[in-house]
């Protein structure tokens, strides 16, 4: 929470254009930009520190061979792993770390969970398609979005809805 607030503060500060031409104004602008970059890096590290990338690697490693589940599952391909890494790194500040899984068709899954009827699962294909499904109490949402380096808005909204109390 503290990091989130600090990140927001610095991000907001960094987003304010600095029109002053003085050395001081230049210094402040540079420091703000540097702080923004460091915080973004620390966020990525934070995801890693929370074990998500490690979990992603571990799950992938256990599913690299065909029939990894004994029921004919397709192997998880390196491209799916790479897409999942890119997706995780594209998550904005303040998003909770998901848990990682794999499915019989070789797709990796990221799950945001609050309860069995309040969750979101996103499957990531090697081609960068994102198949998602969410239960939100009595409501359901599911579909497919393409991943072009940014988390698609519908998925981000669902993450926030699952996280919301």
């Amino acid at each position: 929470m503290i990091i989130e607030m600090t990140a927001s503060t610095v991000l907001s500060f960094g987003a304010v254009p600095t029109y002053g031409a003085s050395e001081t104004a230049q210094f402040v602008a540079e420091q703000a930009e540097q702080g923004r970059r460091q915080l973004h890096a620390s966020f990525s590290f934070g995801m890693d520190g929370r074990g998500v990338l490690e979990e992603l690697y571990s799950v992938t490693k256990g599913c690299l061979v065909a029939d990894w589940d004994g029921y004919g599952a397709a192997p998880v391909r390196a491209e799916a792993f790479a897409q999942a890494c890119r997706f995780l790194k594209a998550l904005p500040f303040g998003v909770q770390a998901p848990s990682v899984g794999a499915e019989p068709d070789g797709q990796l899954t990221l799950e945001w969970y609050r309860s069995p009827r309040r969750l979101l699962s996103v499957s990531i294909t090697p081609d960068g398609d994102l198949h998602y499904a969410a239960l939100l109490g009595p409501n359901k949402a599911y579909g497919t979005e393409a991943f072009y380096g940014e988390v698609p808005r519908p998925i981000l909204d669902l993450i926030h809805r699952v996280q919301a109390a």
């Binding site: 599952a73 068709d105 309860s115 069995p116 499904a133 239960l135």
Partner: protein, 132 residues
């Protein structure tokens, strides 16, 4: 290992067991992840009918499945047949020589998002029973 042959017709109140062979299919709060309920590439989901089986016999089947697949048996998910059919899926008896109570959940929609939402519904309605 099994009791008298189960009848081919499966009633709504029959309990089905899905054996949990990956620890990551089970959350810390002992609820179940939908990953464990996704259909295989053959578009079916393997389960065991609990009809006529004692707890001991059911666990014996689960352990045999785990041994055959060289996996660890962490427990089982108990599902009501009615909950499966509510998702417009079928439960087909598919007895095997080593498990006469074997069945397949079939009729999955072809598109992935629809499969995922159904797997979430099944996981939400299932009850986890840990291996003792």
């Amino acid at each position: 290992m099994t009791a008298p042959d189960p009848p081919p017709a499966i009633t709504d109140d029959e309990l089905l067991a899905r054996f949990m062979l990956f620890s990551r299919w089970i959350r810390e709060d002992r609820t179940l992840r939908p990953d464990g309920f996704m259909p295989s590439p053959n578009s079916d989901l393997s389960v065991t009918r609990q009809f006529g089986l004692s707890e001991v016999a059911l666990w014996q089947i689960g352990q045999a499945v785990a041994d055959a697949l060289q996996k660890i048996l962490y427990g089982r998910a108990d599902l009501k047949t009615a909950d499966v059919r509510r998702q417009r899926l079928q439960v087909d008896a598919a007895p095997l020589s080593e498990n006469l109570n074997h069945a397949n959940i079939t009729g999955w929609p072809p598109d992935k998002p629809s499969q995922k939402i159904i797997a979430q519904e099944l996981a939400a309605s299932a009850t986890f029973v840990a291996r003792e």
